[in-house]
Symmetry: C2
Subunit: 212 residues, 2 copies
């Protein structure tokens, strides 16, 4: 049975998993979650799909998994992106946790507030606060990539997939690739891999569907 991924185009967390499966040639199909109509907040979604009210959710036969970091780890035997040693495995987890806390975590709401809320409802102070925190994170990642091609080891891993995902989106949220040359080169390196696709070409749903 083909793996199903509950996702939508604007979800960077979903993109981490979708991109990993696509790059590794794992067969999968998307199940569209209408996030912008609040589908993830409905009681049936929480009861039957994910009590945390989030995407992505992966369904593989009888197994249902949530949290992109868990799903990337589960898929590692198929994708080969889980690291080659116990030390690499721990280092990948370290960057996935950091990403959830300090990179993708704050980018999600910052990008949402700045682009997907009506202009008169932009909480400017909150957006600026996120952008300030995120500059610290971009600096850490850019410094880490100064003398390496990949976050961990000598090829793409789940650490790269987790950290890169939101950085490909075109909507402005305070991240300018030109300001971070090592991140910029690394994003180009990933995008040059055979099979790479932009999030809006890989998953259903994009802002223009909603007239944005």
């Amino acid at each position: 049975m083909t793996i199903q991924l509950y996702c939508f185009g604007e979800s960077g967390h979903s993109y981490k998993v979708a991109l990993g499966m696509e790059l590794a040639g794992v067969a999968w199909e998307p199940v569209f979650v209408d996030f912008f109509s609040g589908a993830h907040r409905r009681e049936d979604f929480r009861a039957e799909v994910n009590e945390m009210g989030e995407c992505p959710v992966l369904v593989d036969g009888e197994l249902k998994l949530t949290q992109s970091g868990v799903i990337l780890d589960y898929l590692a035997p198929q994708t080969g992106f889980g690291g080659k040693t116990e030390e690499e495995r721990r280092d990948i987890l370290r960057w996935i946790l950091w990403d959830n806390h300090k990179l993708s975590g704050p980018i999600g709401p910052a990008r949402f507030m700045q682009n997907f809320l009506p202009v008169d409802k932009h909480p400017d102070e909150v957006i600026r606060w996120h952008q300030g925190r995120l500059r610290v994170s971009y600096k850490i990642l850019d410094a880490h990539l100064a003398d390496r091609d990949w976050i961990t080891g000598d090829s793409l891993t789940n650490a790269d997939l987790s950290c890169c995902a939101y950085l490909y989106y075109p909507e402005p949220f305070g991240f300018n690739r030109a300001d971070w040359p090592n991140i910029d080169a690394w994003l180009n390196r990933i995008a040059d891999l055979p099979g790479w696709k932009h999030p809006y070409d890989l998953m259903p749903g994009r802002p223009s569907d909603r007239g944005l």
Copy 2:
């Protein structure tokens, strides 16, 4: 050689690890990080201790690990808090990731801004935004604990350690135990375990040291 933990009393992320070792009877000693003097932001700390500029950091002989979720996983063979099956291990990781992203993640800065900044520098809009997001998280955790004693399985695991840590701190950040009866009962359950200690009794540094 005794395990060393770079930490400070106000760090809920450090407390997750310190409490786990204490409950399991693992020998450890704290290395105080003077966070409120900016020790974690200094170049020598980033170069020699943690490029991410964060606590906790665990040193076990030649091994140095960062990110509380990685450290909890590393210690699991000694503590027994890593789950009994592969399914439990994945479920623990799911809650640790959720906690880093949606619970401990936002509590850290919300509590800092509300309690440890000068009153005239409180960014009220940002604090309120965090408190609103956190109410959604408290609701998810409270619902999850409605019919179970522990987050995963039938005893304390790293999932409980990760999620509980910030909720024991006395400084106000918008969390009131009385509003969340299942969380309240679970926090009492953990605090009743032999060896449990409050964060300020387990790690060096507390607000009163700084006249707060």
